[in-house]
């Protein structure tokens, strides 16, 4: 029997805990779009985002039995996704935090997109940032973390966090300006 849309969050979680495949699929269907958008924001490309989404959901299903319905379920899911992305980005040693960007060459592909930026368009811009800039910008501007929290989380100094944010903003400004031409 398919899982109806009127099922409560708690019922859905309990069904998942009982190992009901339909409920697990339903939970995935319901929350994967918002989690995928997070993964897309932090990842370098769609391929990485796909892997991160997959890893996030595996963690979710493993940890579901300990969720006690005392906070926002969606908030908990988002945090799992963000932390999975941060762990992944920390491992990216091939792309240093101070990587320079060949801005002009990359923006050339986006010239047709000049008005009415959609989520996917914004994500494309973010994905063009070096991993360090992208991570700090995401954490600060979208998640609302402070520099000291970002520094703690990423194992960098407050000043590095501020510098990364500044550079990220400058690059994004330049990219948007190019698009508006």
């Amino acid at each position: 029997m398919p899982i109806g849309k009127d099922i409560t969050e708690k019922e859905l979680v309990n069904k998942c805990l009982r190992g009901e495949p339909l409920a697990q699929k339903s939970l995935y269907d319901q929350y994967s779009p918002v989690m995928y958008s997070i993964c897309m924001r932090y990842a370098k490309n769609a391929e990485n985002a796909r892997d991160l989404l997959q890893e996030s959901f595996i963690k979710v299903f493993e940890g579901l039995k300990y969720f006690r319905f005392q906070g926002s379920f969606e908030g908990w899911l988002k945090r799992v996704a963000v932390n999975t992305c941060l762990d992944f980005n920390k491992k990216l040693k091939s792309e240093p935090y101070n990587e320079e960007l060949d801005l002009h060459a990359q923006i050339g592909q986006q010239e047709t997109m000049n008005t009415g930026l959609q989520a996917k368009d914004l994500i494309h811009l973010l994905q063009k940032l070096p991993v360090g800039y992208r991570t700090v910008f995401n954490l600060y501007a979208i998640e609302g973390y402070s520099h000291s929290e970002i520094a703690d989380s990423l194992g960098i100094s407050d000043n590095t966090s501020k510098t990364q944010l500044f550079k990220a903003r400058k690059l994004l400004q330049a990219m948007l300006a190019e698009l508006e031409k």
Partner: protein, 355 residues
């Protein structure tokens, strides 16, 4: 050229609650991983049960074998050494012929006392009173380490010298002595942060069943070499996580891990709709745990304070004093400390009161 704050807003508004359809095929991999994990768990459990059955069978057969030999040997030693000679047989026959038929008499021969050397079984309670037993035994469970020899039970339960298969009892036999000197501290906890407020726990050095105490008043209620711990909502400060392991050699070992609960960064929204529908009626930042310091003020466009709270559970419902505030934009300023030793942090946010 956009200003930095406009840029931030553009991305935040566009992406904070964005939904993007994931590519096909992800669910298939996730589902197979989830089912593999379940199957692996079941398989592992089945193997453990099977192993226990095999070991139990071997022990039972061994005990029966030795008991049988003990009985045989004792019977040989204790049985009356009455020598039956041909003369005695002839005498008995003549007596039977001379006497009227009567019910044959049975000769009472004292039953030999059979000493089977059966082991004594002690019941060591597990679960909520495990710690009490540990303390009674003279050991303790300090955070960090603790070795509790289990050969000194305070209240041994012996039931007719029979084994109690339902009890996870520690067996103490002459062939399997439990010695204090064999107990060595080997256990340590390995904790990995999976997500905010969620930790994966494991033990290193375990050689038997592991029980977890999550400092929630339920004692050692969780069993397993690995466990996932979620910080309960409302819990703050230090959480003492403990693991207790019953070792195969009869010892118990413990390890502890102190988790300093941090309220984390609150989730804040940019609107409230106090219409009594149960959704967003009250504006209140959401923390992972009670913050060490909380001070939230709401200001109107004229910079007048319309609401103030220093209680992290008390939010703004769109009313100032007894007056219902009009719809529009307000400024929220939140100052908080996520834990007692952290710096105070400030969040400023424009919020929309919608009526």
């Amino acid at each position: 050229m956009k200003e930095f704050n406009e840029l931030d807003e553009l991305f935040k508004e566009g992406l904070q609650n964005a939904h993007i359809a994931p590519p096909a095929g992800v669910w298939g991999t996730v589902a197979s991983s989830v089912s593999t994990a379940s199957t692996a768990t079941v398989t592992a459990a089945a193997w453990i049960v099977a192993a226990k059955l095999v070991v139990g069978s071997i022990v039972a057969v061994s005990v029966s074998y030795f008991a049988y030999h003990a009985i045989t040997n004792n019977q040989k030693e204790v049985a009356p050494k009455e020598k039956i000679t041909s003369e005695k047989i002839a005498e008995k026959i003549s007596e039977s012929k001379s006497l009227p038929a009567e019910k044959p008499k049975t000769i009472d021969i004292e039953k030999p006392i059979v000493k089977t050397n059966k082991p004594e079984y002690y019941r060591l309670p597990i679960g909520s009173n495990e710690e009490e037993i540990a303390h009674e035994n003279g050991g303790n469970l300090p955070i960090g380490s603790g070795i509790i020899p289990s050969n000194l039970p305070t209240t041994p339960v012996v039931r007719n010298n029979q084994p109690q298969p339902e009890s996870p009892a520690v067996k103490q036999t002459p062939n399997n002595p439990v010695s204090v000197s064999t107990c060595t501290h080997t256990l340590s906890i390995v904790a990995t942060k999976l997500a905010e407020g969620m930790y994966s726990l494991g033990v290193a050095g375990a050689n038997g069943d592991v029980f977890w105490n999550f400092d929630d008043g339920n004692g050692y209620a969780v069993k397993g070499e690995t466990a996932i711990f979620n910080i309960p909502t409302g819990k703050s400060g230090e959480i003492k996580l403990k693991a207790l392991c019953r070792l195969k050699n009869g010892c118990k070992d413990s390890a502890g891990f102190i988790l300093n609960v941090d309220a984390g960064t609150p989730e804040v929204w940019d609107f409230l709709t106090p219409n009594g529908d149960g959704y967003n009626d009250v504006y209140l930042p959401l923390f992972q745990a009670p913050p060490a310091y909380f001070d939230m003020a709401i200001y109107d466009a004229n910079n007048h304070t319309v609401f103030h709270s220093d209680n992290a559970t008390l939010g703004w419902n769109g009313i100032s004093g007894a007056i219902q505030c009009h719809a529009g934009r307000y400024l929220m300023v939140l100052v908080y400390k996520s834990n007692a030793s952290s710096k105070s942090r400030t969040i400023r946010k424009t919020i929309e009161l919608i009526r």
